[in-house]
């Protein structure tokens, strides 16, 4: 994306009116993206009293950590963090093992059934049974109300698998051949030759899976009813989205609920859910451009 192409042609240009117009448009657009997020962060550090007194809160007038203290006192966010981390800890290795071994296996040439297996996999990209039969299967396997239902429901992302497979296919075949001549089996070749050469793509896919796992909510909402087990995203949903007060629908209960969960607490909940993604993002960005997109476009 940030390819440094020779810009000699444009550098000789004079600055035209159009440059200014485009600069203004793009800057406003960028501000429109930042402001809602910035606003959430500002409110989360603002005392409830200041928030209610200030009609337009553009910057933190007074800073407090009270909202975060209230949030953690509530306890649900801790439970959410625990579930999400557990899902990440069990799910991410599963994703990587399944995806890597399958991608490498299907990148090998000349084995009977290669095409058939790949077609079976591609078919899952355009046709799926949906959540209900998956739920029934989880129930049959006795996995509902455990984090394992969420862990197993998302095993291989076929799109990521194909990106990885394309990368493996692009490695020079002669390397694998010579490894084989030296007596290395497929597993040995994978671990000592292919993986060390595939670090960028492995990093990219790992980060993508990690973000996906972090953001998971739908499967958990269907498979896990026990509230103590629900992942962070669902806790956030319960705190912010499900406790919305709408003018025309506000009942006494809803108002009570709304008071209990002040804006400060809600925004603090958003921030603690968002921050880990913010921390991972710079690394993600470094990789996704050259790794994923190039792979996806070229193939």
């Amino acid at each position: 994306m940030t390819t440094e192409r020779p810009r000699a042609a444009t550098r000789r240009d004079r600055i035209e009116a159009i440059d200014i117009v485009l600069l203004v448009i793009i800057t406003v657009w960028a501000f429109l993206i930042i402001i809602p997020v910035y606003n959430v962060i500002v409110i989360s550090f603002t005392p409830q009293k200041t928030y209610l007194e200030t009609p337009v809160l553009l910057y933190p007038k007074a800073i407090t950590l009270q909202n975060y203290a209230d949030l953690f006192e509530d306890g649900r966010i801790f439970a959410g963090y625990r579930s999400t981390l557990l899902i990440l800890l069990c799910g991410l290795p599963l994703n990587l093992i399944l995806t890597t071994s399958f991608a490498y296996g299907s990148s090998r040439s000349h084995y009977p059934g290669r095409r058939l297996i790949f077609l079976l996999v591609l078919f899952t990209m355009i046709f799926n049974g949906g959540i209900i039969p998956l739920y029934l299967i989880m129930r049959q396997l006795d996995l509902t109300n455990t984090i394992w239902s969420v862990v197993f429901a998302y095993g291989i992302n076929t799109f990521y698998m194909i990106i990885m497979r394309n990368y493996f296919c692009s490695l020079p075949e002669s390397l694998m051949e010579s490894a084989k001549l030296d007596g290395a089996g497929e597993w040995r070749t994978l671990f000592s030759i292919v993986l060390p050469l595939s670090l960028p793509i492995m990093a990219t896919i790992t980060l993508f899976y990690a973000v996906d796992r972090w953001n998971e909510w739908y499967n958990a909402m269907i498979f896990i009813q026990r509230s103590g087990l629900q992942p962070l995203q669902l806790v956030l949903r319960a705190i912010v989205i499900e406790s919305q007060v709408l003018d025309s629908y506000a009942s006494a209960d809803a108002l009570l609920e709304a008071r209990k969960f002040s804006m400060g607490l809600k925004t603090a909940a958003v921030v603690v859910t968002m921050v880990p993604v913010m921390c991972v993002f710079p690394f993600l960005q470094k990789h996704f451009v050259k790794g994923v997109m190039v792979g996806a476009i070229k193939a």
Binding site: P6, V37, W217, Q233
Partner: protein, 315 residues
């Protein structure tokens, strides 16, 4: 090794096949964990779709429940809410093609014209970031920003206007879907166009400049035509998801006030399955309908994209 291959060719096929399978046994063990996963968690549910033609009884399970033919579909096709949800899905996603789809193209064109590389890098970071937030987070952010007490309404009120409930208004709901979707995804989708732009031959620009073409003319006559194949392919692929796009978004952005305008097909399936006394046979009939339509649309889109010289769906 080549000797083994040669000899196996002389024998009849089954034996050669067995030998080839044995020779590649390590490959199969590599594939096995993934295959098992696909069979259980991707193909298993597909088997469950047979419930669409069954009367599901919990005590008999998926396989034991009696077949009832097309009976479930009789009920489905007579449900007015079902048809409303189908048309609403088409209507909402048609709007996505018109309002959302051009935004990443426009964004990439503007970013490409930007002359400050440092600033451009910062902007790209800002634009791609929201893609990695879940719709739960994005909705929470938007609810905070757009609700009656939110920043937008605070500014409106302090300027003397009256508050407007952006997310609780039936007319505003659909435009809000497009706006929030552009907010979240335009930057990410722009990457593919930026990649296409960076592949354009610089000579074309220099020649145009010598001929005195203005910047707008260069955008219109060089950049745009050059990325048009990519745009067309992306457009066709987007039409492939016209019956499925946006569940995560609508589910998290909607609320009771906009219930009547937010029930797309996926929302309808969710409601009849999880918010009503469940009739799995009925639900599965709708799900199967949805899956088949989506498959047909995706295959058509894939064909279309390939006809346009693109790479199609499968990377």
């Amino acid at each position: 090794m080549s000797q083994v291959l040669q000899t196996s060719k002389h024998f009849q096929r089954p034996r050669g096949l067995a030998a080839a399978i044995y020779k590649n046994r390590a490959v199969y063990t590599l594939l096995l964990p993934g295959l098992i996963w696909y069979l259980v968690f991707a193909y298993g549910p597909m088997g469950g779709l047979s419930l669409a033609f069954k009367d599901y009884r919990a005590n008999l399970g998926i396989w034991g429940s009696p077949w009832v033919g097309m009976q479930n579909y009789h009920y489905v096709f007579r449900d007015a809410a079902f048809w409303r949800s189908v048309w609403r899905t088409l209507f909402i996603n048609l709007g996505r093609l018109i309002f959302e789809f051009p935004m990443p193209v426009i964004l990439s064109l503007i970013l490409n014209e930007l002359r400050m590389p440092r600033y451009k890098k910062v902007l790209q970071t800002i634009f791609t970031f929201p893609h990695f937030l879940s719709w739960v987070i994005v909705s929470s952010v938007m609810i905070n920003f757009l609700s009656v007490e939110g920043l937008v309404n605070s500014i409106v009120k302090s300027l003397g206007g009256s508050a407007f409930n952006f997310l609780g208004n039936t007319t505003a709901f659909q435009p809000m879907l497009y706006i929030t979707s552009i907010w979240k995804s335009a930057g990410w989708s722009a990457i593919i166009y930026l990649a296409a732009i960076s592949g354009i031959d610089m000579d074309q620009y220099e020649a145009a400049q010598i001929d005195g073409a203005s910047r707008l003319q260069r955008i219109a006559h060089i950049t745009l035509p050059n990325i048009m194949p990519t745009v067309t392919v992306m457009f066709i692929l987007q039409t492939g998801s016209i019956m499925s796009a946006g569940f995560d978004q609508i589910f998290n952005l909607s609320n009771v006030a906009v219930r009547d305008v937010s029930e797309t097909l996926d929302m309808y399936i969710y409601r009849i399955t999880f918010q009503a006394p469940p009739d799995f046979g009925f639900s599965m009939a709708v799900s199967l309908f949805r899956s088949v339509i989506n498959m047909v649309l995706l295959v058509l889109a894939d064909r279309g994209a390939k006809l346009m010289g693109g790479s199609g769906l499968f990377a």
